[in-house]
């Protein structure tokens, strides 16, 4: 998985490409951990993301909790497979998906 990062003031945009699974989720988690301080608008672009597993969900949940306290988190360009996972797991109700 690759993460393309773009920081504009307090707006952080992360574009993910590849698979967000058990092996790669720690990579995103580490990225968020070091970048979220002071960020009020977090945008996750899933256009290049093939799928995600529960490990990825765990990281997203953590990010959502953090951003819920300090701003907003938006997920864009979610494909069908991933949307299905969000739906199955009830994450559509938790996340802001555009």
């Amino acid at each position: 998985m690759t993460i393309t990062k773009e920081l504009n003031g307090s707006s952080l945009s992360l574009a993910l490409a590849g698979r967000l699974d058990t092996a790669t989720a720690p990579q995103l988690e580490a990225e968020l951990k070091q970048s979220l301080a002071g960020v009020t608008d977090l945008t996750l672009d899933f256009a290049g993301l093939e799928y995600l597993s529960s490990a990825g969900l765990r990281v997203l949940l953590g990010a959502q909790k953090t951003m819920g306290r300090q701003g907003t988190m938006v997920i864009r360009n979610v494909n069908e497979t991933i949307m299905e996972i969000f739906e199955v797991t009830g994450f559509v109700d938790i996340l802001t998906i555009q």
Partner: protein, 842 residues
Amino acid sequence: MKRRPIRRQVQRMVLVLCVAALVLTGLLWAGSLFTLRDTVQRDNRGLGGSAADAGGEALLAQMEQNLYKGVRSEAAVVDEKLERYAGYVRDFVFYARRLYEEPEAYVPKEVLPPDAESQYTYTMQLVLRDETVDEQALQDEVGLLANLVHIWQPVMTGEKETIASIYLCTESGFMINYDERSDLTPEYFDYTGSSWYQAARNAGRVIFTVPYMDTFGRGLMLTCAAPMFNAAGRFSGVMCIDMMVEDMCRSVLDINFGAGSYGFLVDGEGDIIVSPQMNYDGTFENVRDPDCLAHEAARNIMGSTAGVTPTSGGLYYAYAPIDAANWALVIHVPADMVTAPAEDIRTDITARTDATAGVMDESILRTGIISLVIFFLIVGAVVAVSGSFSRHLTGPLLELREDVEHISSGDLTHQAAVRRNDEIGDLAGAFNAMASSLDSYIKDLTAVTAEKERIGAELDIATHIQASMLPCIFPPFPDRKEFDIFASMDPAKEVGGDFYDFFMVDDTHLAVVVADVSGKGVPAALFMVIGKTLIKDHTTPGRDLGEVFMEVNRLLCEGNSEEMFITAFEGVLDLETGELRFVNAGHEMPFICPAGGRYEPRKVRPGFVLAGMETTRYRMGTMTLQPGDRLFQYTDGVTEATNAKNELYGMERLEAVLNRNVNAAPGELLPAVKADIDDFVGDAPQFDDITMLCLEFKQMMNASDPNELTVQAAVENIPAVTDFVNERLEALDCPVKAQMQIDVAIDELFGNIAQYAYDPATGPATVRVDVEDDPLAVRITFIDQGKPYDPLARADPDVTLSAEERQIGGLGIFMVKKTMDDVKYEYRDGQNILTVKKRLAP
């Protein structure tokens, strides 16, 4: 520190010593002089004082003596004179008695009343007591007594100077006066009331009156009187001589014992009767009056003895009695007059002493100034001489310094000019010798260094060649999934004796070799090349490794003139079965780490070293590796690494560090072990090459069943498993969405096994793919030998909770259950077996 040139130091030291000596000498000398001066002055003063005192005392004694003698002789003169007059009077009285006793024998002589015409002629004048006296009745007595002129005349003639007049007065009432001043003689004169008349009659002997002013104005007079007696022996009158005091006592008045001295006469009553200072008004000063003389003197004077008495008032009184008149002669002398000469001596000596001291002071001052001038001259001379001497001493040193600077700047052929035959000359000679030695030494060194550099360069090339002979590209077989291998060799010297090797014997067999050539350096490296080549050449597919080593040993022994040998371990892994065949020629035991287990040394039978003995036999051993198992082999450079305290690294430390990194891949394990060795060794030098090799058997080559994959249960292996399954799915025309869901399921399920089944260790996991037809479905089975765990037993998570309330556990398996068509779990034969089914056709 401030620079202090030797020249200045020498100069300063000499100067300080010189000045100190001069100042000390000067001070001692000056002190002696002043002491001498003071002593002389003091002694002189003392001498002067003593002399003055002694002189004064002597003078006083002398003076007292003189006074005593003088006063006695003067008194004797006066006494004798008075006695002479007293004798006259006594003679007159005797003659008068003769006249009274024998009137018939003398012719009566006529005596006339005083006649002024006869003045200046010695005549007898008759004076009556008063008018009542009958002149006629006294005619006989007058005529008789007038015969006295016979004796008076010679006396008067002899004593004209002193005697004013000679006369007699009778009880009968007349007076016969014999002198030359008849003009002054009255006709009547009542003498009976006169003191001398009374005194003479009362005393009955010769008396002297005190001086008195003459009634007839002749001056100061003194009368010597004596009573006359008639033939019957009855008092008949008084015989007198009037003497001019001035003439009589001339000797007393002339007494002179020095300035302020004078003599005077004292009568028996203590009255001063004759004195040059007297005022003859008829009253007399009395010596016993408190304000006249000192009491002592007065008492002694009145004591009728001769003597000299000093008084507290600074006066001397010398006195002597005058017996004739019961008087005393006193000489008054001021004491300072007596002692003046002594004081003069004292003053003179003191003055002379002071003058001497002044001269000495002046002389000392003059000498001091001269000494000071000499002192500065000497100091100047010392400064000049010591400066010149210091320059003479240090000049060659400065020259030598320039020479040495010349030499130190690189000109080793420069020679210091030796012009002195002393220590500095020796030093210059030593510098020259040093420069020559340095020059030749540097030339030698240059040659040796050049040679060494050439050898070093060649050794460098040898090192490169040796290093390039060891496989050093990792991973060496990137398309081989069955194993991972990593090896390293750190030579102790430029060219080591250790080597490792790995190569594919054929498509399914991997050979690994770790060996250690005895000795170091180029010979060991050459032998290593031979050994390595022979082992690789003779390891052929299917060949017994014991035979391989026996052949290699035989070949090495043939050309081993240097008596070198090799310890070596070779293993050949069958990638399809995991069987590891190995042979050991005197080498260390390998460490084996089963998947999920610990590294432990595996005892393998060691044969004798290679190239040791031509006939040595080697026997092959075998063991079986499971996927995930690892082999670690090394040389004794690891266990015999030594720290500064000469402790060996040892097997225990090696085993410990291996097990601390039990999950590390070979490429991470070896650097970790090397770092641990480096930590242990510290700064101690490395004695031996350190060679390590680690082989991980990751999965078996699936020659028999292509639908099953056994790998180590690790997160890193998820992509491998996913790829394996996807390959199978592609052949089935699987829809993309189903494939995605299956991939997610693999991630969840294999991920669970990797993270939890063998936690905290790891172990093998097998994935099988089975295909069902009608309807087309795929069944994927996950098998592990870890802890029994049924993921389905867990309740589904509540997916309606908010983000804050959400728990993440169980979400993965929940997703699998939702996306797969069937999920089953069973625990059988010590294995967790989880099967998921996904329909691929509608």
